[in-house]
């Protein structure tokens, strides 16, 4: 999975003015610093819109959601842009449980 990700998305890539970053596996307190760094690199590309592909996330906790909320806040502050999530069922359930789902733009994923 690590190799595949590096081949297709080396820390996020731009597609038609949209920076794209893919996170997978655990998005929890144990891994959040790495996830935060990956999202940060995508934000640093300066695009107004960022798509975060979360379809491969197997577990997300409050810290993982905080990473996404933080990215959304930074993006809005810097460019006024939007953070769009491509989420699976696990992520959607966590966003609903924490009542944060309305804070994000969502695009079709397996959990939609």
């Amino acid at each position: 999975m690590e190799t595949a990700d590096r081949q297709t998305s080396p820390g996020g890539r731009a597609l038609d003015g949209v920076a794209r970053v893919r996170l997978w596996g655990l998005l929890t307190a144990a891994t959040a610093s790495q996830a935060r760094a990956r999202v940060q690199r995508a934000l640093d590309q300066g695009h107004a819109h960022v798509l975060v592909d979360l379809q491969g996330v197997t577990r997300i906790d409050a810290v993982g959601i905080a990473v996404l909320l933080d990215a959304r806040r930074l993006l809005q502050a810097r460019t006024g842009g939007t953070l769009v999530l491509c989420a699976n069922r696990i992520v959607c359930r966590a966003l609903r449980t924490t009542r944060t789902i309305a804070a994000f733009g969502l695009t079709a994923g397996t959990g939609m």
Binding site: L23, G25, L26, S33, Q34, R38, Q40, R59, I65, T97
Partner: protein
């Protein structure tokens, strides 16, 4: 361990260190921690002093089942971390957690459990509470923390006050220990007050990004 970074974190069985103080550090839970938790939940003194829903759920709802570990890790409304002391301690000394986390509103509840009787009155609980408070502000973006304490738990009340919490009210006879009703004391602290404590205790530097997942300041 599958990680979104593609890096290689420390082995899951040891947990990942989240924050370090001078006496204790906080790490993520591992399945092996349930062995310790299983002992702690049978301690009547702890049950009376803390009245933890976390421990109650493990013992009475989950019947000490291993699945409790997964339930905790997949609960996006709480962060439970294990408290480890540095010198001379071979086992965890307790658990500290933020629960009922409201990320958008920016508040959560704090619970600190120092379970090893030998570890009490050594400042471990104060430091653990301090570290997770900083973590709540830095990483979760919280702006308010709240804690409830039984009126007879003077040690916990003093610990909260040492960490800058203020008593905000009393829930009259809201606690029951099996024999009689007791008042619950409500404590709270705001982000500015947490930052004031951090400035006062200069030893607690900003979290190392490699371990603490610190937020970018705006």
């Amino acid at each position: 361990m599958d990680t979104p970074s593609g890096s290689h974190p420390r082995p899951a069985e040891r947990g990942v260190v989240i924050s370090r103080g001078t006496r204790v550090y906080l790490r993520t839970m591992t399945p092996q921690d349930l062995d310790h938790l299983s002992t702690w939940v049978d301690d009547p003194f702890l049950e009376r002093m803390v009245g933890s829903e976390f421990m109650h759920a493990y013992k009475h709802v989950w019947d000490k089942a291993p699945a409790f570990y997964e339930a905790i890790l997949t609960d996006p409304t709480q962060v439970a971390l294990v408290v480890e002391a540095y010198q001379g301690w071979t086992k965890p000394v307790g658990v500290v957690r933020l629960f009922n986390i409201h990320l958008l509103e920016g508040y959560a509840f704090l619970e600190t459990i120092i379970a090893d009787l030998r570890a009490m009155k050594r400042g471990f609980g104060i430091e653990a509470g301090k570290l997770i408070s900083y973590y709540g502000v830095d990483v979760l973006g919280l702006r308010r923390l709240e804690a409830k304490v039984y009126e007879y738990n003077v040690l916990s009340m003093n610990s909260l006050r040492r960490n800058g919490f203020r008593q905000e009210g009393i829930l009259r006879q809201a606690g029951f220990d099996g024999e009689r009703y007791w008042d619950l004391m409500i404590f709270g602290i705001l982000r500015d007050e947490i930052e004031a404590v951090r400035r006062r205790d200069k030893v607690y530097l900003p979290l190392d990004p490699s371990e603490g997942n610190g937020r970018e300041p705006t």
